[in-house]
């Protein structure tokens, strides 16, 4: 069996996502148990997706810790009392029964005491952890703002209402790449710089929309804006194409055609 081809097919990615039919799923599962190499691959896929999911962290609206602990306590108590019951039931009417009953009662009482003590020590630890969390939270204010922006960008990137227009590099900068996210209805426009050259210190990038054959200013932006961030630009109607030029700081009224770095069509 050619494991390399099997992995390249992407079937393991579907398996991890749970997107296969029950038969296909079972088939892949048996192959994984047969070939450790596949198990390693599956683990790496799972880790990557799990890591990705951390980005969507969201504080629960309510604290349900007590609910969880209460439910766990019931589970533990049930299993403890099951054992006690077995002790009681397994004997017939003999002095042993009396001892068994006493033992199970003692076990339950002990259990309650145990959980009570656990609860108290947990409360103390909780206070310590809450304090630590508070300090961590303070340090993360900047990161939080960054994160919220990223969430916002993700929303735009996945929304149907936003058209995505790729801009390709021109001879001035052949590897150039940028993307415009344009909402035709609301006219909102964002630009994402993927690969643009660093302009001189007194220059900036300017985004243009071609409307009715004429260039319309969509705003300026800087190289320092890190790649991966969507930059909000001017609202635009009726764009036929987009382009980015290098202009003096503050932008120009008309685009410098020889300073065009990327260009697209709708």
């Amino acid at each position: 069996m050619n494991l390399k081809d099997y992995k390249s097919s992407g079937i393991l990615e579907l398996y991890v996502s749970g997107a296969l039919s029950p038969e296909e799923h079972a088939e892949v599962e048996s192959l994984i148990s047969k070939y450790p190499e596949l198990a390693v691959e599956v683990e790496e896929i799972e880790n990557a997706l799990a890591n990705f999911s951390l980005a969507f962290s969201k504080e629960p609206p309510r604290d349900i810790k007590e609910n969880i602990l209460a439910e766990i306590d019931i589970l533990e108590k049930d299993s403890a009392s099951q054992e006690a019951k077995v002790v009681a039931l397994s004997s017939t009417s003999s002095p042993l029964v009396k001892y068994s009953v006493a033992a199970s009662v003692a076990l339950l009482l002990l259990g309650n005491f145990y959980f009570y003590n656990q609860w108290r020590s947990t409360e103390k630890q909780l206070a310590g952890l809450v304090n630590q969390n508070y300090k961590l939270a303070q340090n993360y204010d900047l990161i939080k703002a960054t994160y919220e922006k990223t969430q916002h960008d993700f929303t735009i990137a996945t929304a149907n209402s936003f058209k995505q227009i790729e801009m390709q590099g021109l001879p001035l900068y052949p590897s150039g790449k940028a993307r415009v996210f344009w909402n035709e209805k609301s006219q909102e426009t964002y630009v994402l710089a993927v690969d643009l050259p660093k302009p001189e210190y007194n220059k900036q990038f300017q985004l243009w929309a071609i409307v009715d054959g004429k260039p319309v200013d969509a705003g300026v932006f800087d190289f320092e804006n890190k790649s991966g961030e969507l930059l909000k630009m001017n609202n635009i109607t009726g764009a036929q194409a987009f382009a980015v030029t290098i202009e003096p700081k503050g932008g120009s009224i008309n685009p410098s055609m020889d300073q065009m770095v990327v260009f697209s069509k709708i």
Partner: protein, 184 residues
């Protein structure tokens, strides 16, 4: 998580020993991560909260099924959460008009409460977003968070069935590369 107060080994050990403080620790440190995953799949606060409770209880209950040699604790927990949520998603009436829901829900996620907690391990997300095409983001979203099957993804994105696999592999391989970079 790099800044854990308890190392993963210690935490796992405590959980195997059924130490109650371990589940408390898990809750404090992972409630936001797991709630986020659950809410992404079932975008209803109350449902997601129920699922969060179910998730932690199930983690506790089934902990003897966790095999540390087979993967990270967090990955296992995310799987528990995801499976519960996708079961819920498939069982309810969600699916009757849900084919358009996922994309709309992405917008709703932003509009509703902004109680996002932060995780520094994910700062690389920005760089990752630039490297993924919109279709790649959709594929991961539909497959992993919306419980779509191969066929449903092909229909939704209007691509041939055979290419769903290969595009998913490419998208996830980009994630893997980015995360490997961070490890160094």
């Amino acid at each position: 998580m790099k800044q854990s107060i308890l190392s993963e080994e210690v935490l796992v050990d405590l959980l195997f020993k059924r130490e109650r403080q371990a589940i408390t620790y898990l809750y404090d440190h992972y409630k936001a991560a797991l709630y986020g995953v659950l809410y992404r799949i079932v975008p209803d606060e109350d449902e997601a909260l129920d699922l969060l409770q179910d998730t932690f209880v199930k983690i506790w209950k089934n902990f003897d099924q966790y095999d540390p040699t087979k993967g990270r604790l967090y990955t296992w927990m995310v799987n528990v959460a995801r499976n519960l949520a996708i079961d819920k998603l498939r069982s309810k009436d969600f699916n009757n008009n849900s084919k358009n829901q996922p994309i709309d829900n992405v917008v709703n996620v932003l509009d509703s409460s902004k109680n996002y907690s932060i995780n520094p391990d994910t700062i690389g997300l920005k760089e990752m977003m630039a490297k993924l095409s919109p279709e790649q983001i959709s594929i991961i979203d539909l497959l992993y968070y919306q419980g779509y099957t191969q066929v449903e993804v092909a229909e939704e994105l209007n691509i041939p069935l055979g290419t769903v696999k290969t595009r998913a592999r490419l998208a996830i391989s980009i994630l893997r590369k980015e995360f490997d970079k961070e490890k160094v």
